[in-house]
């Protein structure tokens, strides 16, 4: 069913069983975070002077925000390229993005050694403008705010529907003003991720001697930008498919297939750029070793979904599109983890694997993200739910109370 369905709150029990499990997982990770703040980073993690960012930066920040780049990708398609038919995907994508970016920002605070000094980020005279990480920090913090502002219409819509007259006026007034400001906000929402997603790749430029030449290239920012869009598009398809199964959210196969075709071109562009970069003088690094295997696995992970997205069978099959999108997300995630960890060698003698504490925090953050998504979707009009034959949405049925 294609059309501009109106988003609505899913409703249902807020603290149902899945929520409780997710919040319990997060509570465990809260305990780890408390320990981290009282005892220091060393006792809780396997981070060392060699592998100093562990997984909290590469995964919690870089991979999560890559998944959240769906907001960026859908925003590009819907607003900049003016394909209004993607409108129904915007809110869930933006919510996922807002949550992923908030998780990333929170993870940074947990990962920072001297977090209490981060207020200096608000003092522009102290900014070291040559630092790519500063650019990432400022952009990400601003973008988190922009994403939640983009979610405000959804919150205000619910407030506008409130029985209380005062809240109704409040919601309508601010909703209107927000609508007027939207072009400026959306322009920011497109500019900022362009800057920081490429900078997340740019962070690695300076570690040239320590990153394997097959990954270290001046194209790092470009490659990260392209792959974040692939991850984002893939994540949106995965998200909508899961929501379709759980809450019967509107799942427009043709639309998603069309979006995935764009994704296919991005994935192919990535592969072309990488191969081009390698053939320009780095071919002799390719051999029969583990590193080359990683490289080829990455290429396969990028190429496979691209070819799948372009095939007719996949275009027509919900399940196959879902699987291919999972591969697209995995491709971006694997590329990021490889660049930051797998092929990063500070010097001989160092190795790294996340400690149980680090993994707990990552999993806990992910659990929190899912929980918040469920919570907000239930409370506010974010998702467009498919209508039944009777014209009434199936939202209130048992499927939704899960």
């Amino acid at each position: 069913m294609i059309g501009y369905g109106e988003p609505q709150a899913i409703g249902g029990k807020l603290l149902a069983r899945p929520m409780k499990t997710l919040l319990a997982i997060f509570a465990v990770s809260l305990g780890v975070m408390w320990y981290r703040f009282s005892a220091g980073l060393g006792p809780v993690s396997n981070m060392t002077d060699g592998f100093t960012w562990g997984i909290w930066e590469p995964v919690n920040v870089v991979v999560f925000t890559g998944i959240g780049a769906g907001a960026y990708g859908v925003g590009l398609l819907c607003y900049l390229l003016n394909k209004g038919r993607y409108h129904g995907l915007v809110r869930p994508a933006v919510l996922a993005g807002a949550i992923c970016y908030s998780l990333g920002a929170a993870s940074i605070v947990v990962a920072l050694g001297r977090y209490w000094n981060s207020y200096w980020l608000g003092v522009p005279t102290l900014w070291n403008l040559s630092s790519a990480l500063l650019e990432v920090a400022i952009c990400v913090l601003t973008y988190v705010m922009v994403l939640w502002v983009e979610m405000l219409p959804s919150f205000l819509a619910r407030i506008s529907a409130s029985p209380s007259a005062r809240w109704k006026t409040f919601g309508k007034k601010w909703g209107g003003r927000l609508q007027q400001a939207m072009p400026y906000i959306i322009a920011l929402a497109i500019l900022l991720p362009t800057m920081h997603q490429s900078s997340l790749g740019g962070l690695l430029l300076i570690a040239g001697p320590k990153i394997h030449p097959l990954w270290h290239t001046a194209l790092l920012p470009t490659l990260f930008l392209i792959s974040c869009l692939s991850m984002g598009f893939g994540a949106v398809v995965v998200l909508i498919t899961i929501l379709k199964l759980t809450w019967n959210v509107e799942h427009d196969q043709r639309l998603l297939a069309e979006m995935s075709r764009v994704n296919a071109y991005l994935l192919i562009a990535f592969v072309v750029l990488r191969i081009g970069d390698i053939t320009a003088g780095k071919l002799w690094y390719v051999g029969w070793d583990l590193i080359s295997l990683l490289f080829f696995v990455e290429l396969a992970l990028f190429l496979t979904p691209a070819l799948l997205f372009l095939s007719h069978r996949v275009k027509r099959s919900r399940g196959r599109l879902f699987g291919a999108s999972l591969l697209a997300v995995a491709a971006g995630a694997v590329y990021r983890v490889d660049a930051y960890l797998s092929v990063y060698r500070p010097a001989p003698g160092w190795n790294y694997w996340p400690s149980i504490g680090e993994m707990t925090v990552t999993v806990g953050m992910a659990a929190l993200g899912i929980a918040v998504f469920i919570l907000i979707s239930r409370m506010f009009p974010v998702l467009v739910v498919e209508e039944t034959a009777t014209g009434r949405p199936r939202a209130s049925e048992s499927a939704a109370s899960r």
């Binding site: 396997n46 498919t241 043709r254 027509r316 699987g323 149980i356 999993v363």
Partner: protein, 364 residues
Amino acid sequence: MTELEARGVSRRDFLKVCTLAAGAVGLPAWAGEMMADKAASSAKPPVIWLHFQECTGCSESLLRASAPDVAELILSLISLDYHETLMAAAGYQAERSLADSMERNDGKYLVIIEGAIPTKDGGVYCRAAGRTAIETAHKVTARAGAVLAIGSCASWGGIPSADPNPTGAVGASKIVTDRPIVNLPGCPANPYNLLGTVLQYATFGTLPALDELSRPKLAYARVIHEDCPRRPHFDAGRFAHKYGDEGHRAGYCLYKLGCKGPVTHANCSLNHFVDVPGAWPIGIGHPCVGCTEQKIAFRVPLHQTVDVDRPTAPSTYPPIHADHRVVEPLPVGIGSAIVGALAGAGYMATKKLTGNPKKHDPEE
């Protein structure tokens, strides 16, 4: 033995001295017992002690003991037939003793040379009983069983040979060239090195293994630095910088005060002197002056530092790339399980979605 007992020296003390002497040349304890038995019997090895350009310090180090009985003990283990400082006789009688001993113990007596031998102007700068040192050396060592040169002076010239060496002083081995001489350098030499060598010869008829400078390897193979009790301070970088400063009083390494320990072959750091533990130069806070080494002693200034020449660096130094590995099996297992579970879930979900055309996979 009985005469010693008469003087109040127990067999235990006697054995102790013999064992120490045996230990000084690296022989096991039972050798000490053998030496004691041999010495207790009347067959004491005859020793002729020649003095040339010397200060008699090496003799004094033999006698200088905190327990006077030990000195007597030492003298009881050997038959000291000729010693210009210690013998009762003088003048013609002394020379008579020398000749008698040489004749009586022909081919069996041990000659110990103390002091350098001057060579300039025909060697006139050291004459006793009308003979030059060169003549005496040749004459006495000709029929000797073994020849030992005690002290740096006899080993390589010592103080008399210091620049400008006006008398042309040289070590005994430069004069007595027809037979091997055991050099026991030191200023003074450690008495137990001498005693051990002498007793080994007397008991077994053999001399200890010698290095390329004819020094017993067991006493002179290692440098002071290798066995110095202050070595941990060197290794940890703790040095005395001035006499009496905090580091000096704390007993830190004396390398920076010019200690020649790193280039001096001797066993002073192990044996010490005068039977008093800690009574040796570094032990009392003065840097080693390298008195056994011809290239160092009386040539290199006392407080000039030397290069530390080490054939292999000890394993206490960190390697270029330290081991910082942190990977352990349990987290690897858990992490792999999580990733595997995610991949598995994705695969299962895809399969389920794809495999159920009516319910989940309406082809549009």
